[in-house]
Amino acid sequence: MNTLLLLPILAPLAAAAFAAAVGWRRLSAFVTVLAALSVLMTAVVLGSQIGSGARFGVGHLLRADALTVTMLIVIGTVGTLATWASVGYINAELAHGHTDERGANLYGVLVPIFLAAMSLAVLANNIGLMWVAIEATTVATAFLVGHRRTRAALEATWKYVVICSVGIALAFLGTVLLYFASLHAGASSGTTLNIDVLLAHATRLDPNVTHLAAGLLLLGYGAKAGLVPFHTWLADAHSQSPAPVSALMSGVLLSVAFSALLRVKSVVDLALGAGFLRAGLLIVGLLTMLIAASLLVVQTDFKRMLAYSSMENMGLVAVAAAAGTKLAIAALLLHVLAHGIGKTLVFLAAGQLQAAHDSTAISDITGVLARSRLIGGAFVVGLAVLLGLPPFAMFASELSISRALASAHLEWALGAALLLVVIAFAALVRNGSRMLLGPPDPGAPTIAVPRSVAGALVTGVTLSVALGLTAGPLTQLFRTAATMLGATP
């Protein structure tokens, strides 16, 4: 059943080839939507087949287990919504002259390549290959960030490529050191970087070299996940990207990079005990939340506000990973999925607001709810998801993370995290209500909602509500993934 493992990589690549051949057309855009949908379908089929085991493909280069399935579900869901909305978004950009035919063609090719690279990253059994895939996402998204070719977009692209490449280079150095330690623990050179081989040799890894490797891997993949100290690219890139790309980066890319860290953590924890990465993740996670919460308070730009909210959530995810219990890891995975869908809603809605006003300043926009029920409604639902309000899923995940932190005797971290969550909550509510409520300005432009964007928003709202009411079989999937990652009970 190798083909099933290859499908989430090959389907988007085929869509990219098709888009390259015919250019930006309605048809090629919908082929990309189909490719994203096939990633989701593959995840569902794999999920129903593998149970608590793992399946390998292409000579053990690829693997599929509960974590892979979880991440493929996130990629497939957000990917489908974002590529669907892209159809209307890019056509509107073309109509307004913000991009030209060449820009649209490039967009049509790069987005599916980006999806394929993320699928490869979560399917890789070889952590070297996983690294290659994550670095490939940087290359694929560079010109997506710079899509509008303005001065600000160029600046954001430069910072994004340079900071992420340096960060991810450190992760490669960490990978090399782990390879070195594993070779000296008796693994054979061809397969040493495979996760199953690393796990089998983990207890014999040299602790001093592994410390160095783990530190570098945390910094490196942390850069791509938006964690300090290499977080500075995030707000710039998210605010300049086209809305569907912002949704993909914020909702999926950050968590794909974090899932790489979870993979590494399962090996390092066996070699060094849980203490080392727990300390590292707590420091990095809480500092990330602190920076994000402070910048949320003073934010005047709504796309940057959403970017910092993503940072805050990734910080919380890092803190949850530090707790490391089964409850914490399962909650973290639910958090990642719910955040992905919620962030997609707000970014897609924000994209239409930006298109209508040609501005991303919070002060320029009022009375959205009264002006467009769909955009306003989607923004409200998305914001409610991100704020962790019941009945949405992040309420449950944040509650579980709190419980897990308390039972892991990390009450101080719980206290600090809760305080920062409350600050971020207040800032989001204040800025959100300023944009959404109130009477509309008489001269305010109409907010256009292309059909495909409307479709993606309605689907996203439905999914958010459904996920909030019941996670269904996903609960079992998340628990299996947590157990497989070596979480303590």
Binding site: V139, G146, R151, L154, A156, V162, N208, D236
Partner: protein, 220 residues
Amino acid sequence: MNQATYTGVLDLAAGAFLLAAVLIVWRRELRAIVRMLAAQGVALATIPLTVGMYQKDAALVVVGVVVLLLRAVVLPLLLARAVGTEDHERRESTPLVNTTASLLITAGLTVLAYAVTRPIIDLDPSPATRAVPAAFAVILIAVFVMVSRRRALSQAVGFMMLDNGIAATAFLITSGVPLIVELGASLDVLFAVLVLGLLTGHMRRTFGGTDLDQLRELRD
């Protein structure tokens, strides 16, 4: 190749590798910097070629040839094309840290590299591993170049130096990572440098120069 020649060639290559990094810190002329980078690529490729010949590992020799082509020829050529033709574009602008201080910092970073790499040498005290502090020193110096230079191209050079340092570490301590990872990583670096080169061109057209101090529109 006997043990003594092997150790000698490796040490010489590692020394030349580090020296090229120091010269890059010293020089301000962008074309000279790119030439130094090509020289560093040659020193880097010498490592897998030597180890490959010593261990009679044909695959590693092939990797060495690929590294030579990529890091000593293709990537420097790409960067050289991105150097502007106008006079003010061909030199690094007034540096944030002056040359003397930069060289002192470089020396300090080299000492730090020796301290950081102790656990690696302790685990496997072979002749190749003993040269790894030079590779780590280049990594640290590269990060310093990236934070202290103000031209887009200098940052790209710093990034390539960082990558050279990591590749040298991999060749010295593990005789290179598995082939598929090596190929993938090389491809990624090639694309990343291509992207940086293209962006430098866009920047020159949009801003009329490549001074990174102009990148200050986005902030909080």
